[in-house]
Amino acid sequence: MHPDAITRLRAVNPAAVDPGLGREPVAQASLQRILDSPPVTAPPARRPLTSRGLVLVLAVLVLGVGGALAATDPMGWWSSNPSETHYRVNPDARVPTPVAQQIRCTAGGGGRFRCTPQQERCYQVGQRAPYCKLSGTGLPYQKIDAIPAPPSNSVFSRAGFTKAITKALAARRMTAAHAARFRADLARVPDGFFTELRLAGQYGTYGSGGETKNGRTQVPPVGQAATLVCTDAGRRLSCQDLNGDADAPVGAGVYSAVPGPGWRTVRTPRYIGGLPPGVQFTHAEEQVLIDLLRFGTTTSGSSSHGVQAKPVHIIHLKR
């Protein structure tokens, strides 16, 4: 008679716990490094996606750089959260943005997808409302954006911030008192802060998935990429999953999966925070970011999830 499955699994435990491991020299050295690092008051675990990410997003807008509303979110990057897509831009790689608005894709192996542009055809019978559908086969995706270039080094610098404050004052987007407070907070951060900000600015996030309400979100079936990054490849597009892409070229098309059969409704996942490796913000540095959020004003930024206008050709059918 075989022992039960859990018992057998327990018997082959691949790593026994060493209770004294934490007191070993290597672990103690790691502890010392942790204690030497500046403590950062992290946001609560359930902080919504827009909160800390929006700080930098609004910073970008206030500084007049523009860019997609939710494009910069260095506080959260690669994650297993099915309703978030995190990537890093390669600022040295630039490609033309594909023209295709709607595409259909089939998996090509190795995390890559073969995609072809599709036309949406609309049909109308008599006086009934037209109905539209995408031609072709494969998973449908809709273009939502192009990978934006990260803010230039000149913008994310002490001089760049100072210049932007002056500009915002002149345009009456900031009061004199706010500008003074902002300048004082800027004086308290080291130059290294701007280096980390430039690094963080290379990371981006798109909200993926379908409608979110009552704490639940629609997400694609397991194994289907929610967001693709695509470049032209002759008549087709060469695409891959944008989530986790550490090398996305500037200008590449960003395509979002269109909800359809097989999509799941899940409890809206907890936002997974954490800064990219090597990026740490102290309290004083966070204050600068909060200043941008509090004192800056937003321009009318375009949503990165808006559906772009597309030509519709209606085919009239006879009854």
Binding site: Q28, W78, S80, I272
Partner: protein, 176 residues
């Protein structure tokens, strides 16, 4: 090594020394011994920065953090490898597993979905209760119970269908 520290740091150091071994073993079982140091270090760095959020029973919370850290690192690494190596890493157990100890278990383990493996590992290897394991995964305890039941049943079916199970059944003359 003598560490100079204030009260908060002393409390954290105690937490660290008490639970580092368990977190390191958790990481080792999932990503291998080579990466376990890094996963454990980042887990405790997050615990240090969020010391206000660490609960009185810290181990499930630490496992949850380590899980997220390991998932992030796994995704980042997977993008950089060829498809064949990525698929192999998904399917096979970490290199230090002793497949000879009970090969049928490892063969069944390989065929389980990652979600089932995680549920079973928390109970069998981390030896957590249902409530504790549910906290690691961030789901309600009843939901975890259902997932555990299903994962266990799938494992049992895989073990029952293994060649070892078939040969032992046929060779035992005392069984009716």
């Amino acid at each position: 090594m003598t560490l100079t520290m204030d009260g908060r740091a002393t409390t954290f150091a105690t937490l660290y020394e008490q639970h580092y071994g368990a977190v390191h073993a958790y990481a080792s079982r999932r990503v291998g011994a080579d990466a376990a140091d890094e996963i454990a270090a980042e887990t405790f760095l997050i615990a240090w920065r969020r010391s206000d959020a660490v609960p009185d029973e810290p181990l499930p919370w630490l496992y949850g953090v380590a899980r997220n850290v390991a998932l992030r690192q796994y995704e980042a690494t997977r993008r950089q490898t060829r498809a064949r190596e990525a698929a192999q890493r998904e399917r096979s157990a970490p290199a230090h597993f002793d497949a000879a100890a009970d090969p049928a278990v490892w063969e069944a383990w390989d065929r389980l979905r990652p979600a089932d493996r995680e549920v079973l590992a928390l109970v069998a290897w981390e030896e957590l209760s249902v409530a504790e394991a549910a906290r690691v995964l961030g789901c309600p305890a009843p939901q975890f119970s259902v997932r555990l039941f299903r994962a266990r049943r799938r494992l049992e079916r895989l073990l029952a269908s293994s060649p070892e199970a078939s040969s032992s059944e046929s060779s035992d003359p005392t069984e009716a």
